[in-house]
Symmetry: C2
Subunit: 191 residues, 2 copies
């Protein structure tokens, strides 16, 4: 999606170590015009995929998941970070490793939010190591529902998450696919 690539070049902040900050338009201050355009693009990609529900994880996936849900006309569920392993039987739970904070945390979804008959589109703002999305796929699997695909705003193709999912036969779509980033701020997109 050229509009997003151009915005990343214009307003993204590249830091050493492959870190890309997009808080000024994507996941802190949200450009809602761009958000609507990204949601329309995701809806266009998945309009014939039989999606019944969207699943994301708090917090930075919520805006694009909700917007895509509006565009596709389906509900959007967000998995919640949970403080303890002590949960009721009414939830699905998985463990996600945060590379940012170097720790594991528990993530839950209420069982009545996911149904075995659902076809779930998993959405997030970023796909890099794939840790968060692996956890979301685990939650969908626990519910007996099907994964229709994974759609993200930005994939860092030089990190292994996306290719790991594709190798398992999971459909993965990224609105901007970053092939490489250099420490001095040069960015190359996969065409």
């Amino acid at each position: 999606m050229r509009q997003l690539e151009e915005r990343i070049i214009a307003d993204g902040k590249m830091l050493p170590g492959g870190v890309l900050k997009v808080g000024s338009f994507l996941n802190h201050c949200i450009d809602t015009k761009l958000l609507g355009d990204m949601a329309a693009e995701i809806a266009s990609l998945y309009k014939d995929a039989g999606v019944t529900k969207i699943l994301t994880i708090e917090a930075s996936g919520i805006a694009i998941a909700a917007a895509a849900g509006m565009a596709l006309g389906v509900p959007a569920v967000f998995a919640k970070k949970h403080r303890t392993t002590n949960v009721e039987g009414s939830v699905y739970m998985t463990i996600i490793h945060s590379f940012t904070h170097n720790e594991d945390y528990h993530v839950i979804v209420q069982r009545d939010c996911l149904d075995a008959s659902d076809k779930i589109l998993i959405i997030d703002d970023f796909l890099a190591n794939g840790s968060a999305l692996r956890g979301l796929i685990d939650l969908v699997t626990q519910s007996g529902a099907e994964v229709a695909g994974v759609a993200v705003c930005v994939e860092k193709c030089f990190q292994p998450g996306g290719d790991e999912f594709r190798a398992k036969g999971i459909r993965v779509d990224a609105l901007a696919s970053i092939e490489s980033m250099t420490d001095d701020g040069q960015i190359t997109f996969r065409s």
Copy 2:
């Protein structure tokens, strides 16, 4: 907003102590048709208020803030919960008390997300004690921007937050205003 009131009666779960669970349609599994209608209602209420930006707090305010931002054509900023008091000078920070977890937490917004010339509409899913919204108003005040108003999906009028803000001259709008809730699940809306 009658549609939201009817949904609360149909699908809300009332628990003893004035607790209302709306996770099945508002803040865990999000009915995105209702979300769009709520956003349109907020946009209608504030269309002549000169709003330049929306501010909310992660996580459950993000969906309605992003949707209202799309409807009003302005950016939506979400304040982030922060682990430590150790922040860079590039952020505004405030402290919010969580009644749910009975603890204080730090909340930040990058300084370049708010400008002294901004007129900010503060949005959240719930208004009860007003603790989160008080923190968001503090962040706006620190930036020198103006508060255009506070819009929430659900106000619990039997808790003091909304009236505290109104007494200070702040405009407060709720799409559903709950006058009272009984422990046996009877709910009365303010007309």
